[in-house]
């Protein structure tokens, strides 16, 4: 028997010279990496082959992330920052505690080279 829902989706899209990596749903499983390892590896391989001039990370639809989900978000973010030395825009909700307080930590925004490349766009939840 199982109850509750835990559906997390991450989609990478190319729009001209822009890559958009969006996150949606909820992360509340015990070990999300176990389920997402192949996606993380595929993304790493694909993004290195792609020419992009800027990247957008979109977290607006990620409704919930439990603390066990932090590492997999960090893995995905790290691939993006390590593979392309281009500006990154982060779309987030201004009234969401985790996106305002913890997401910058997962982005490692305190590192100057990350901070210099990153800008936040704030959105209001509808």
């Amino acid at each position: 028997m199982d109850g509750g829902t835990s559906v997390f989706t991450s989609v990478a899209k190319i729009d001209g010279k822009k890559m958009i990596l969006s996150f949606s749903g909820v992360i509340r499983v015990d070990n999300p990496y176990k389920h997402l390892e192949s996606y993380v590896n595929d993304l790493d391989e694909e993004i290195r082959k792609t020419v992009v001039e800027n990247i957008e990370l979109d977290f607006r639809e990620l409704n919930f992330c439990n603390s066990n989900g932090f590492y997999v978000i960090m893995d995905l973010i790290e691939i993006i920052y390590d593979s392309k030395d281009v500006p990154v825009i982060v779309n987030r909700l201004k009234d969401d505690d985790w996106q305002q307080e913890t997401l910058p930590i997962l982005l490692n925004i305190d590192e100057p080279e990350i901070n210099d490349r990153t800008s936040f766009k704030e959105f209001t939840e509808l």
């Binding site: 028997m1 199982d2 109850g3 509750g4 829902t5 835990s6 509340r28 015990d30 070990n31 990496y33 919930f64 439990n66 603390s67 066990n68 932090f70 590492y71 960090m74 009234d95 969401d96 505690d97 985790w98 307080e101 913890t102 930590i105 997962l106 305190d110 939840e125």
Partner: protein, 168 residues
């Protein structure tokens, strides 16, 4: 006519007790957390109802992971009114477990910069992909809860309180 302001004066309390713990094979924190988020969100701003979901998830998962008696019970009480959101989780532990939690909470409550503690803990634990250890820090750093613990043998009681104001 009931206004939004009136709704945010609603008193809501939920009280769950589940026994035996060994029968909890579902994703209990998700079930209760999502229900409470929806219920509280019918009266209070989303910011408050989301906090309820997060605090329920983190406290309940901690309690289930650290429960030392599978034949015993686990309890969760939630209360929200115009002043506070309070969630209290109770589970059986041995004295040593209580002392570890007490030391962890004392450290969280006394640290000068809780954001720095959260950052350092995430980075440190990520190296070995260690499970747990982040939930209570997160509740304070991210969600601005105040934490307290007590021990009423054999039960550990962890209480998390958020003072409402300015969520609109």
């Amino acid at each position: 006519m009931i206004t939004e302001e009136d709704l945010q004066k609603t008193n809501i309390s939920f009280n769950y007790t589940i026994a035996p713990v060994k029968n909890i094979i579902c994703d209990l924190s998700a079930i209760i957390g999502n229900f409470c988020e929806e219920a509280i969100g019918s009266f209070y701003p989303r910011k408050v109802s989301k906090k309820a979901n997060i605090v329920i998830t983190e406290l309940l998962n901690n309690a289930l992971e650290n429960c030392n008696d599978d034949d015993s019970k686990i309890g969760l009480k939630l209360h929200v009114d115009e002043g506070n959101l309070i969630v209290r989780v109770v589970n059986p532990v041995v004295k040593e477990q209580y002392e570890n939690v007490r030391a962890h909470v004392d450290r969280i409550n006394s640290v000068d910069n809780i954001r720095t503690l959260l950052r350092e803990t995430i980075l440190e634990r990520r190296k070995d992909r260690l499970k747990g250890g982040l939930g209570l820090i997160r509740l304070v750093a991210e969600n601005k809860f105040k934490l307290s613990v007590e021990y009423k043998k054999p039960f550990l009681i962890v209480e998390s309180q958020y003072v409402l104001g300015g969520e609109n």
